[in-house]
């Protein structure tokens, strides 16, 4: 099984996501980066599940399934907030707020 390949990919995906979260200020793009980071952790969990001795371990798979649903909930709410934030302020990044 090329488990080592997928776990290395998981690590690098996490790095790409982290890089995206750090440097991008455009809100939707940062959300994509966060999703990539989450997917990287899920990939690692599934590699662990696949390589468990005697059979795929159902617990990480259940965790990742729960994680996917939570990720889609957070993404949906974040996109709604981005849309309203942009409609109200016309900007595309929150730090622009005026700290009086």
């Amino acid at each position: 099984m090329t488990g080592w390949l997928f776990s290395v990919t998981a690590g690098l995906l996490f790095a790409i996501g982290l890089y995206g979260v750090l440097i991008r200020t455009e809100l939707v793009r940062r959300l994509l980066a966060a999703n990539v980071m989450a997917t990287a952790v899920f990939l690692f969990l599934i590699v662990v599940a696949a390589e468990t001795p005697d059979g795929p371990d159902p617990v990480p798979q259940a965790m990742v399934l729960t994680g996917i649903v939570i990720a889609v909930s957070l993404t949906a709410f974040a996109l709604a907030l981005i849309r309203h934030f942009r409609a109200v302020t016309g900007e595309s990044d929150p730090e622009g707020g005026d700290d009086d």
Binding site: I23, T66, R86
Partner: protein, 329 residues
Amino acid sequence: MPVSDLLASGFDVLLCIGLLWLAWQAITGTGLFRSVVMFMVFGLMMAVTWARLGSPDLALAEAAIGAGITGALLLNACRAAVSEMRSDEQPLRDRPSGVPKWLALPLSLAAGVGLAWLMHSIPRDGGPTPEAAIKAAETHFLDNPITSVLLDFRAIDTLLEMAVLLLALVGARVLLDQRRLPALYPVPDHPMPMLPSLLAMITPVLLLTGLYLFWAGSHAPGGAFQAGALLGALGVMYQLAGRFTPTHEPGTVNALLITVGLGLFSLFACLSLLWAPAPLSHPEQGAYALVLLIEFALMLSIAATLVLLFVGSRSLQLRRSTNHPGGRQ
């Protein structure tokens, strides 16, 4: 047979390179629209990866939720990002973020390489939980081990996760109460060509597959989440074809649909004290029927919540058909 192993690892190498390239393009690509396309393809590739790593349940879920619903939501964001942009604003320029590039790149690279080494070096020797889970899954009244973990061994995770999904919708409603934004997909004045026929063809197929996935969930890959997401995708299709009219009056059917999953599951948790010392325990007889009932409720709630999150309105009314133009907005 070394050749098949060679091909298999060749397949995996190409898959991983594709994943990394797609992720990089989605994040550092210039156009937002292009990034969204890249991210959707990344979701598709992840579904193939889950299939390749021997977890078909996740391949189904990723395809339906990850690529389907998330993709549609992101397209919505793209469309909203521009259609509500005031004329004076320039295209989505990216202002430099607080963290300078020369710091972010080495930092995340180091984190990535470190994690990659760590993830690779952790010995895969299972542990008490995997052994117990694999052993218990064989004797469990649900044949699908993942569904048995989701709905029995770790039932509270699934229950609270439904609360998270509901909270996303309530949060979106808080925003809606403040400011009613124009509907993203106004009912088309002229009926779209060929779309009604595609809809007529796809609806029975999607409904059938959704119900099949739900039914199969207890003994084969599938389950409430995949079925719910698939029905959600069908709802998205109806909204795109203009068959739904979003309204802002509170609809009782909509409210029932989005809360039935969490309500039934919590009720079960409380009532389970009648036949067991600890909550969330299944009764000896009738457990299978109970699980099916709960899964059906979860499926309805997930589908309804995902569609309402996509449409971005408080409730929906199904319109007979699109041929009478100028439907009620």
